[in-house]
Structures are given as structure tokens and as C-alpha cells.
Symmetry: C2
Subunit: 310 residues, 2 copies
Amino acid sequence: MNEADFIARLRGIATDPAARGLADDTALLGDLVLTHDMIVEGVHFLPDDTPQDIAWKLVAVNLSDLAAKGAAPLGVLLGYSLSGDAAWDAAFVAGLDDVLRRFDVPLLGGDTVRPPAGAPRSFGLTAIGRAPATGAPARGGVRPGDQIWVTGTIGNAGVGLAMRLGEIEPGATCMAAYSRPLPQLALGAALAPHVHAMMDISDGLLIDAERMAAASDCQIALMLEAVPLSAALLAVRPDVLDTRLAAATAGDDYQLLFAADPAQAEAIRSLAATEGIAVTAIGHAAVGAGLRLTHRAQRVALPERLGFAH
Amino acid sequence: MNEADFIARLRGIATDPAARGLADDTALLGDLVLTHDMIVEGVHFLPDDTPQDIAWKLVAVNLSDLAAKGAAPLGVLLGYSLSGDAAWDAAFVAGLDDVLRRFDVPLLGGDTVRPPAGAPRSFGLTAIGRAPATGAPARGGVRPGDQIWVTGTIGNAGVGLAMRLGEIEPGATCMAAYSRPLPQLALGAALAPHVHAMMDISDGLLIDAERMAAASDCQIALMLEAVPLSAALLAVRPDVLDTRLAAATAGDDYQLLFAADPAQAEAIRSLAATEGIAVTAIGHAAVGAGLRLTHRAQRVALPERLGFAH
């Protein structure tokens, strides 16, 4: 059974409205937004990633889910598996302190277990946030005619992972995007009242856009040439279709993907400028289903792999 | 680094009042009580325990933490590691559905990961509850002069585990106590306004009472002859000091341990009678520190192992 099959089964028992059909990465309980993400050695991080980077990623991926709902973080609960290496565990706590201070989020509690020797490292985090007064945008709210936007640039973390694996020369910007993703909390909160739908890009722009289209029962058409790539990425990759498809399927971006009425474009640009983060319209929603890709007005077939499917 | 050392380090960074110094198994956020517990194969359950029983235990241990705060469950988030065995995963979902229906708690969300092949099974659950209007009793509120009470009977699960391991003839009551613990939600909610301190007994009566004494900066004196043992336990074990020490250190009871003014005794007995669950006064709190044990008025030295220290 893969993740999708398992979640389909869980959906059958998660009938409470607060679960949002398990389609939204987060749950809503009153005005609280709740999310729980796990990261596992060899799946979500490399065995020799530093404990500080792993702590950062564990917190950042969960806060990114809150950011996508426009929520202000209230605290986290940590599920920690002792590593059997005291110095490693101590470095993890130091890294955890660092990332929690950086985003001003308190550690509220959790649980610590000692797994059998040799088990892969595995960590969980529950993050709790307060939804914006205007409500938490769902993944499934896209309406035909909406513009589709992303924050920041796409694909840096994928290049950073290649650098981390020694496949290409290291560069600071992409390496940092891989090891120290920045959840877009302030921008997410600012955008929330202006969007119809919002989610974070964790598994890849294309796979996450496809999920947004499915949850919204509409089609999303993306112009690959509009997908924002960083100067750091374009310094090591040529600006060709393959580069753009690789960036759009690499995952680990932790940027926001959102849909809004075109009349909101000016407000959205202005809010993003205030936060000092780029926003780019990369397509639109239409009546229909699934994902539709073009590159410089030419139709592009969907790649077999749209992103990181667990 | 063991669990206690790691938690001591975490305590250094968990300075928010809502964390209650990480001394309480749960966190408080407004009127919400939050808890996150993990269970790991080979540590908290046996490799051949059924997926239904494991799902039950995962939910029950977390709801038991809510029960100890008098909280009414609002929902849970599941952290699931796919087993690589579709039938096993499907049976887990069926068991999860069963236990969530039994306690009327909705599944709100969570995360699913696929760990590397051969990794021990590991699951996490976050449970969210609403604190009672009178406030959630802390672990550290015991006052000298308080009576110390437990709900139900102690030691059944420990005997059930021995039965499960084939060490003694199986018996239904103790086996069920091991595989299907019952969080004392209704009684916990009823007792909360009447107690000074409350916690659940997960690692063993003695180790948990010692933790309560330490958190409360007082001494707890327990009369081992008063510790309530079930008829099912006494059918397979003689009523001698060793049996009582084994029961009081076995863990997995998920009964409530609480402290209250002796003037509350009648109210407490009456509430317990209404719920149909026994409550037993097993000792008292005094000025001092640590745990003090007696058996039929004879002082008993603390056993080396007070319970299940992870």
C-alpha cells in the first residue's frame, strides 16, 4: 500500500468536518490550525545531514503548512527518537532551539522514545497555529478564472540536494534552500485574506498543483517559462525546458502556491513587496480537471514523475 | 543520552509557561490540552501484536494523558509509518476506526511516511482535548496532607504481558488490560475539580508517583497493601510483597493517580461509584521528598527499578 492508498483508507474514517477530508495538510479546530509532519532518515533527509539542519527542516516543514493557511504559530510538540549518540542528540536540541527562536515559536511538549539500535532516525512534529480572522484558505478553493501564483523561486532546494550529493559544485544559495528552508509565515498571513486557495510546495510544484486542481475540481494551466528560477539556479543550469521541468518536480521548496481572483493581483504584489519576497503569476485555473503545461505557448506533456510521491 | 537527560536539555529551551516545564505529559494552550505520544515496535509493543491492538494502544495511551487532565477529547492527528504490508496497514486503519469510535474522537489529520525496509514500526499520535472549566490538574500540585488515590486496579497489564509472552497461562482480564487499555476519560473529567494533582500511570505506579512527588516538591508515602489488585491477578499470583511490588512497577496500567484533600474523599468515592470504577486511597503526601513505601506498617526499601524507564 502506498501513501495515497493509505490516506484514501484513512479518509474513509476521517469524516469529521475539521479533518477537511484529509485533503489539506492541516486540520482546523475552532480557530486553531493543526499539522503533524514526520521526517525519516534516508527518505526526507540524508544520514549525514547535520542534526542542526534536521531539526531546522523538521520545524520548517511544519511551519510551512501553517504558513499556507495564513496561521500564526502558537507552539509545537516534538516526537523525538533518541539517536544513541549523546552529542548528536545535544546538537539536535541546540538546532531546535535555534529554529524555534528564529520563528519565535515555543516548544510546548511532546514525547521521547529510544528505538532499537540501528533503526533509521525518525522525528515528528505537531505545530499549532491560530487561523487568520478571515479564515484559513483551503487547498480546494480554486475557481475557474483564478490566477495561479507562487512565492519566491522554485527548484533551488533540488539543485541544493544535487550539490549536497556532490553531483555539482556547491553554491551557498541552493545549499541553504535545501538545508534551511524558510517557511513563508509573514507572507502567508498577509496573503490569506486575498486568496481562494493556498498550499505549500513540499513535494514539487507540479504534483502539488495537480493536488490543488483535484481538490478544487478544476483544471490548472501552468506556463513553465513563467516559473520563477533563481539566479543561483540559472548559474548552474541552462534555461531550457528540462531545467524548468526539473525545478518544477524537485520538491522541498516550501514556497506558497495560491490562487486568487485576477482583481487581487495588485494587492498581492503590494503585500509581497512589503515582505520583500517575490510573487509570480505562473498560470490560471479553468473549468476541467488536472494539470495543463505549456512552455512558450507550446503544449508540454506531463512528465511521468510530477514530484516526490512517498 | 537517556530520555531523562534529553528531556532535561529540552526543558532548557521550553521556557514558555504553556509547556509547564515539560513536567506534565501534556501542554496547555488556552483551554486546549495537547499531548503527543509515540509507540515503537520492540519497545512499546511486541512485533507480533496485532495491528488492531497497536492502533488501540496508540490512541489509548494518548487519551489517557487527556483523561489525567480531566480533558474532553476533540480530535487526534496520526503520524503513520507504512509497514510495507498492505493487509497490515489496512488492519491498522480498521483498528484505528474501532478505537476512535469507541471513545468518540475524530481523526483530524496527520502524516504518512514510508520508512526504509526493515525499520521497526513506529507510530505517533497527537491528541487534543478541551480542559475542564475548573482547569487542568497539573502533576505538580500535591500538597502535604493530601490523600493519594488510584483508579481501577494496578498490575493487570504487567501480568497480561507475561501471559502474552507465554510465561503464564493466559487469562482474559489481564490480557485485555495489556492489549486494550481503557483511558479513564469520564472519571478523569469528573475528578478534575476535586483534585490537587493528577497524572496517568503509564510507566509504573512507583515511578509515576515518584515523578508526582518530585514535581510537587513533597514526599509521597504509599501503603503497598492498599494498592488495589484485581481478582484476575490474584488468581495467578499470591498476595505477597513481591507480587505487590511487581504490580506497582509493571506499568501500562493507564489508571489515574491523583492527590486530593481528605475532605474530598466522600465526593471522590461518589463520583467513582457513578462511573462504576473503583477508587482506592493508597497513601498520603507529606513534607519532604521522594517516595516512601510501607507494607502492613513495615517500611519497605524502594526497589531498584521503579517502573519502565525508557
